[in-house]
Amino acid sequence: MSEGQPFKLFTKPKLESSSLVVAWNQDVGKVGAGVVDYLNRKLEGREFAEISPEGFFSLGGVSVEEDIAQFPESKFYWCQENSLVIFKSDIPQYEWYRFLGLVLDIAEKYCKVKEIYIVGGMVSAAAHTMPRILLSVVNSTDMKRVLSHHELVSDMDYETQDGQRPTFSSFLLWAAKRRNIAGASLWVTLPFYLLAADLQACKKLAEFFNAHLELSIDLSDIDEEVARQNKEIAQVRSKYPDLDGYISKLEGNLSLTVDESQKLVREMEEWLRKRR
């Protein structure tokens, strides 16, 4: 316990140099949180620090999601053998820059983090049978070079539109750049009707990290899960011709009407809920 500090340090990781993977709980389809949970499980990550919620979250009660009371969490894990650090957190409501400063302080001081990867999902209109695409935004040309041998969409042009605001991942990427820490945010596409659980998107990110950080994870379990999910969706399609028709249209690069899209989302969510 670190008295008087806005974070608790449970143990000091023994790392000479490390990579940090960051995921936010408020991510689209929870794909970022899903992949860091997977990495933690497979690499036996150990929690070593936690940022206290005071000053960063409203703490005016709790929210309830899927019947369960939630509470903001901001936790660090480390995987010694792989020189990997994981930070999984809710997005703070206040003091954003101070919060990011704290994340980077802990990463640099206790883990000697040299590079940061922020993971998240991006909604796509493509069918689930199409390959997932991984997009990257980097904060330095060095990082762009580091990622150049991976199959990524890495030439995106984007500017915040009126009425929108930058993502918290962009804020972190910018804050890391101010400290000369190389960083990339990685966005994986996921079909709009599988936001509740797209294992294929998780797999895409897990494959990336497995190759890039040489983690040597046996991904056969997630492969099996993906195959099982695809098989089940195929069964749903054969049982419900209208859903099959909508997905077939997407597979043929045709767009759906608003009503069709809504029906597809509703039916798939219902099916996924029953499946759980």
Partner: protein, 303 residues
């Protein structure tokens, strides 16, 4: 958290004019025109990331090039007499739920502004905002003035077209100035600096809409130019006033006749001393605001 100064000019007995956005953007429009007319130079800025969430990201070729925050800039102008320092904030720091700053962040920002004022030897600070008043939009806006020290009362009373809180019916010299334009008066007082807030009137039936009210800004500009002893061309603000009045008139003309009749009463109201015809009742006021709200929502375009 801090201030970044691009240069450190030697200023002669400077006065600061500080402003953040508020109702009708009355203060910001006036102060920004004054800054531009005087051709004030950039002096520095308050680093914004401790106060604000970024508002724009620019990504080119897959690389994050820029993250833009609301600006909080200082400017200066040497006049040969009393030099002038400006501070213009594009946004008031808040937790996202409130339009006006309050609490720790607002206090920190107010202190940073006063730090700069004191560093350059300012002896006085003006802030500016809006005063919601039962006036008609065809009337000239008056300027409510609130100093932070009793010794300034006689001086502010001498400014043309101004009123004190005690001149306003039922107020007994009391009221509130919301947000940083008000808070700065308090922080200045705490740190021994004279400060005066000048607030241009905005009609009660317009203040709730997200549109500028340049007529209020013009009155503020007139008071500030007198207070600073600077002659300012009013051409730019007059053009804005004309445009805004035409827009308000076109909405006003579409109001139902009973509502317009009620609002027309405001042409005769001198709210320090209500006279004939009878003043608008609370029920009238509610109906009028509902009707105006409906009209503004229906009107396409505008600000």
């Amino acid at each position: 958290m801090g201030v970044k100064l691009y240069k450190e000019p030697k200023l002669n007995n400077p006065i600061m004019v500080a402003c953040w956005p508020g109702i009708g953007n009355i203060g910001v429009i006036a102060v920004d025109i004054l800054r531009r007319v005087m051709a004030a130079e950039e002096l520095g800025e308050i680093e914004p990331w401790d106060f604000f969430y970024p508002r724009r990201v620019l990504i080119r070729g897959g690389e994050l090039k820029e993250l833009e925050f609301p600006s909080n800039k200082f400017y200066f102008k040497k006049t040969g007499k009393n030099d002038v320092l400006f501070f213009i904030g594009e946004e008031q720091p808040s937790d996202g739920a409130r339009a006006y700053a309050e609490g720790t962040k607002a206090y920190e920002m107010a202190n940073l502004v006063i730090d700069v004022a004191l560093k350059f030897g300012c002896h006085r600070v003006y802030t500016s905002g809006a005063a919601v008043a039962p006036i008609h939009h065809t009337a000239r806006s008056r300027v409510w003035v609130v100093p932070n020290m009793g010794a300034l009362i006689d001086e502010v009373k001498s400014y043309e077209n101004t009123v004190l809180m005690s001149d306003i019916e039922d107020r007994n010299g009391q009221g509130n100035i919301t947000g940083l334009n008000g808070l700065l008066l308090g922080v200045a007082r705490k740190r021994g600096l004279e400060a005066i807030c000048v607030m241009g009137e905005v009609p009660i039936y317009i203040h709730g809409f997200p549109i500028p009210y340049p007529k209020g800004s013009k009155s503020v500009l007139e008071v500030l130019s007198t207070a600073l002893g600077i002659e300012v061309s009013l051409d730019e603000i007059d053009a804005l006033v004309e445009q805004s009045e035409n827009e308000i008139d076109s909405v006003y003309e579409k109001l139902p006749s009973d509502i317009k009749e009620q609002l027309d009463k405001l042409k005769y109201v001198t709210y320090a001393k209500p006279s004939e015809p009878e003043p608008i009742t609370e029920e009238d006021k509610r109906k009028i605001l509902q009707e105006i709200d409906r009209l503004f929502k229906r009107e396409p375009g505008g600000d």
